[in-house]
C-alpha cells in the first residue's frame, strides 16, 4: 500500500488535476451558461408575470399614482425587487414616483388613437383645433421605480415629457396639445402594431383606448466585473 501510494505520488502526481482541468473546460462554461440562461428565463417569466398582472390591475381601475395601489404593485413585484420612494405624508397622487434603489422601473400608459378631423374626437373640440388628428396620444402616464435604470432602458412609448400632465398622470388637452402626441419613434412603432392589416388585424378606430404597462428590471446578480448585466424588458397592451 505504501509503495502504491509512493508510485502514485511520483508518476501520477497531478493527473487528477490535469484531467479535472480538461473536464472543467467543458463543464464550467456549460454550468455557467446553463445558470445564466436559466436565470434569465426565470427572470423573464417573473417580469412578464409582473407586467401582465399590473396591466390587469390597471385595466380594472387601479390608480398607480396613488400610494395605496403603488404599494400593492411593489408587493406584487417584490420578487424582482421593485422599489419606489414612500409618499411624503399628506401627498395625494404622484405622477412620477422614482428613486434610485431597487432593480425595476414601471411605466403605466393609457393611449388613445385620435382619428381624422371629421371624426368625433376631433369634432368635439372643433376640427381646426384638433392638432393631434391621425395620431396616438397619451391620455395618462405614470412612472414609478428606479429612474437610474433609464440609462439602460427607455420606454418604447416615449417619455410624455412634452405633455401637460397632472399629479395623477392625466394628460390634459390630449386632442389639442401637440405635446400629448407620442414621439415620432413611438408613433411609428404604434402605427406598425395597431394600424396594419396583417394576420386579420384592422386599424384602430377613432377614440379607441389602449392600456399599456412596461417594465424593465436589471439583473445585478448576473453582472460580470464592471459590465452590467442585461436586464429584462416586458410590455403588454390590454
Amino acid at each position: 500500500m505504501k509503495s502504491f501510494r509512493k508510485s502514485t505520488n511520483r508518476s501520477e502526481r497531478g493527473n487528477e488535476v490535469v484531467e479535472f482541468a480538461f473536464v472543467a473546460i467543458m463543464f464550467v462554461p456549460l454550468i455557467l451558461g446553463s445558470f445564466m440562461v436559466g436565470m434569465n428565463i426565470v427572470k423573464s417569466i417573473a417580469v412578464n408575470h409582473v407586467v401582465r398582472d399590473l396591466n390587469n390591475m390597471y385595466i380594472h381601475g387601479a390608480d398607480f399614482s396613488a400610494s395605496t395601489y403603488q404599494q400593492l404593485a411593489l408587493r406584487l413585484a417584490s420578487g424582482v425587487n421593485l422599489n419606489a420612494p414612500v409618499f411624503p405624508s399628506g401627498t395625494g397622487n404622484v405622477q412620477a414616483n422614482t428613486g434610485n434603489t431597487g432593480d425595476g422601473l414601471i411605466w403605466v400608459t393609457q393611449m388613445m388613437y385620435v382619428g381624422t378631423t371629421t371624426e368625433p374626437t376631433c369634432t368635439a373640440v372643433g376640427s381646426n383645433n384638433c392638432a393631434n388628428h391621425d395620431s396616438f396620444v397619451y391620455t395618462q402616464r405614470i412612472v414609478f421605480g428606479n429612474s437610474a435604470l433609464l440609462q439602460q432602458k427607455q420606454s418604447t412609448l416615449g417619455d410624455a415629457a412634452s405633455s401637460t400632465i397632472s399629479s395623477s398622470g392625466i394628460v390634459r388637452n390630449y386632442v389639442t396639445d401637440s405635446g400629448a402626441r407620442l414621439p415620432s419613434a413611438a408613433q411609428a412603432d404604434m402605427r406598425g402594431l395597431w394600424m396594419n392589416t396583417q394576420n386579420g388585424r384592422q386599424p384602430l378606430s377613432d377614440g379607441q383606448i389602449i392600456y399599456a404597462v412596461e417594465g424593465y428590471f436589471q439583473s445585478p446578480s448576473l453582472a460580470v466585473g464592471s459590465t452590467p448585466a442585461k436586464g429584462v424588458y416586458a410590455r403588454y397592451f390590454f
Binding site: E19, V23, R52, I170, Y174, W194
Partner: protein, 522 residues
C-alpha cells in the same frame, strides 16, 4: 498490479467526464428548452388575456349586438397580435383569428345581463436542444375568458345657471359618454336638474336614439341636445330620482350606476313641512292654509289643511310634474313604479351658496299659493318654525357621520331667526341631504349602485363629491387630508370622482368615467 492500475486509470476522469456530457447536455438542454417554452407560454397567456379583455371592451362598439360581437372579435385579434406579433420569440404557426374557434362571444347561461368572451390561441415554440432528438417545436395553447356585465346607468346632469357658458360642452361630453356604451344591451337614462328636476328619462336600451350620442361610428341627437342651463342646484333630488329609476328597472345582475355631474354646491332641497303631527309654519307667518287660515288663526292644524304649493303640478310622472315619482307611501321610500298623484305641502328651498353680509338671505321658495311670506314674494325662513329631519326623498339633514354640522332639536332644524345660524344650518342641510342621497343609493340592500361624480369648475366641493362617489383614490389628496371628512367605505361600491377644470377636461372626465365603468363591467 499497481503499475497496471496506473496505466489503466490514466485519463479515466476525462473519459468519464466526456461520457457524462452525453447525458448532461441533453438534461441541461431539456431544462433550457422547457424554461423557454414556459417563457413563451407566459407571453402567449398574457397576449390572450389582453385579447379577452379588449374583446370585452369591444362589446360596447356597434349599434346592434351582432355588430358588437364583431367588434369584440376584431379587438381580440388586434390586441393579440400587438402583444405577440408573428415570429416574436421565434414562435411559428400562431393560430388566432376571428372564428368562433378562437373568439367565442356568448350570453352567460346564469345571468342574462352578462356576456362572455372566450379567447383561445396557440403557437409553436422552438426547441434548441431537443431538436437533436427529433422534437423541433412545442405547441402551446392558452385560453382566457372575460365577461362584460350590461350597464344600467342614470346620467344626472346639472343644468343650473352657472353651467350656462358650458352648456354645449356638457351636451357634447355627455353624448360622448353615451357613445361609449352598447346600444341594444346597456341601458342609460337621464335626469337633468336646476331648481327642479326635468326631464326624467328612464334607462332604456335605445338610449342612443332617445338621448343622443357621439362615437367613432357616428352621432345622433336626442334629449341631451335640448338641455338649457339656468336656475339653482337641486342635486339631492336629482340623485334620488335618478337612483329611483334604476330601482324601478331592478336589474341587480347588471352594473348599476349613477353618474352625477355638477359645477357648484347643492343649494336646493325639497322638504315636506308636515311631519305627521303638525305643519312647520311659524305662528307669526301670514301664510294661509287650504281653509284660508293662518297658523295664528288655528290653521295648518291637520294634514288635510295643507296646501299643494306649486299648484297644477302633481306628484306623478308623465306630466309636467315638478317632483315626479315620489313614493305614494312613506316619504323617502323608493318606489317600484310611478305613484299616483297626491297632495303634499312641499317647498324647495333655494339658498345662497355663500354667506356674506349682503348675501345672507335664506329664501325658501318663490311661489306658494295662499301665502304672503314675511319677505313678500321672496319668502323667508321667518315663515317657518322648523325644518324637517329629511327631504321628501328621505335623505337625512343630519345623518350619522354627517358631512356638515347641523344643529337639530328632536331631529329637526329649529329656526332661530338668527340669519347666521339659520343660513349655516340650512346650507349644511342641503349638503348633507345630497351626501345622504348618494350614500343611500350605494347602500340600498336590494340594489346597491355605484355613484360616479364629476366636479366641473373650481366652485365644487371636492370632498362632498368624493364622499358621494366613495372614491378611495382621493383619500390622500390635500382636500381629503386637510378636511378629514372624506369617506372610505370598503364594503360599499367604490365609484370615482373626477375633477374637470375646463370644458375640454369635462369631455375627458366623461370619457374617463366611461372607461372606468367599462372596466368595472368586465
Amino acid at each position: 498490479m499497481s503499475m497496471l492500475l496506473k496505466r489503466k486509470d490514466r485519463g479515466v476522469a476525462l473519459i468519464v467526464g466526456t461520457a457524462a456530457l452525453v447525458m448532461i447536455i441533453p438534461a441541461v438542454g431539456l431544462a433550457i428548452d422547457v424554461g423557454y417554452v414556459y417563457a413563451v407560454k407566459a407571453k402567449l397567456q398574457a397576449a390572450v388575456d389582453g385579447a379577452a379583455l379588449a374583446a370585452a371592451r369591444g362589446l360596447s362598439l356597434g349599434q346592434t349586438t351582432q355588430a358588437q360581437a364583431a367588434s369584440a372579435k376584431q379587438n381580440a385579434v388586434n390586441w393579440f397580435y400587438s402583444n405577440l406579433p408573428p415570429n416574436d420569440w421565434a414562435t411559428k404557426n400562431t393560430q388566432m383569428d376571428t372564428s368562433n374557434q378562437h373568439v367565442l362571444v356568448y350570453d352567460d347561461p346564469t345571468n342574462p345581463q352578462v356576456r362572455n368572451v372566450t379567447v383561445t390561441a396557440e403557437t409553436s415554440a422552438p426547441t434548441w436542444f431537443m431538436r437533436w432528438f427529433g422534437k423541433d417545436a412545442s405547441v402551446i395553447r392558452a385560453t382566457s375568458n372575460a365577461a362584460r356585465r350590461d350597464v344600467v346607468a342614470m346620467l344626472v346632469l346639472d343644468r343650473s345657471g352657472s353651467m350656462g357658458g358650458s352648456c354645449s360642452a356638457l351636451i357634447d361630453a355627455a353624448k360622448q359618454f353615451t357613445g361609449q356604451f352598447a346600444a341594444g344591451r346597456d341601458q342609460i337614462g337621464l335626469v337633468t336638474f336646476s331648481d327642479g328636476v326635468a326631464p326624467v328619462i328612464a334607462p332604456s336600451t335605445s338610449f342612443q336614439t332617445t338621448l343622443g350620442y357621439i362615437n367613432a361610428m357616428g352621432s345622433g341627437t336626442g334629449a341631451l341636445d335640448t338641455i338649457k342651463c339656468n336656475g339653482s342646484t337641486s342635486t339631492a333630488e336629482a340623485v334620488s330620482l335618478g337612483y329611483n329609476e334604476l330601482y324601478k328597472k331592478s336589474l341587480p345582475g347588471a352594473l348599476n350606476l349613477v353618474v352625477v355631474e355638477t359645477d357648484g354646491l347643492p343649494n336646493t332641497a325639497v322638504y315636506n313641512w308636515w311631519d305627521g303631527a303638525s305643519y312647520g309654519i311659524s305662528a307669526t307667518s301670514a301664510c294661509k292654509d287650504a281653509n284660508n287660515k293662518t297658523r295664528a288663526a288655528g290653521g295648518w292644524a291637520t294634514a288635510s289643511s295643507g296646501r299643494q304649493w306649486f299648484g297644477g303640478q302633481n306628484l306623478s310622472s308623465g306630466g309636467s310634474s315638478f317632483i315626479p315619482n315620489i313614493s305614494a307611501g312613506t316619504t323617502g321610500s323608493v318606489s317600484t313604479s310611478d305613484p299616483p298623484a297626491r297632495t303634499m305641502t312641499v317647498l324647495r328651498n333655494p339658498i345662497q351658496t355663500s354667506h356674506a353680509t349682503s348675501n345672507n338671505t335664506v329664501n325658501i321658495t318663490s311661489t306658494a299659493p295662499g301665502c304672503t311670506f314675511a319677505g313678500g314674494t321672496s319668502s323667508s325662513i321667518a315663515d317657518f318654525a322648523w325644518m324637517p329631519s329629511a327631504d321628501v326623498y328621505g335623505n337625512a339633514i343630519n345623518p350619522t357621520s354627517a358631512y356638515a354640522p347641523v344643529t337639530t332639536t328632536n331631529g329637526k332644524i329649529a329656526v332661530t331667526r338668527n340669519t347666521n345660524t339659520d343660513w349655516t344650518n340650512i346650507h349644511n342641510a342641503a349638503l348633507n341631504v345630497t351626501d345622504n342621497a348618494a350614500y343611500r343609493a350605494r347602500t340600498n340592500p336590494t340594489l346597491p349602485v355605484y355613484v360616479f361624480t364629476i366636479g366641473f369648475s373650481n366652485a365644487v366641493d371636492n370632498v362632498l363629491l368624493q364622499r358621494m362617489a366613495n372614491d378611495p383614490g382621493w383619500l390622500t389628496s390635500p382636500d381629503c387630508v386637510n378636511s378629514g371628512a372624506c369617506s372610505n367605505y370598503a364594503d360599499q361600491p367604490q365609484g370615482r370622482y373626477v375633477h374637470a377644470a375646463n370644458t375640454q377636461e369635462l369631455m375627458q372626465a366623461f370619457l374617463s368615467l366611461s372607461s372606468e365603468v367599462l372596466r368595472l363591467s368586465r
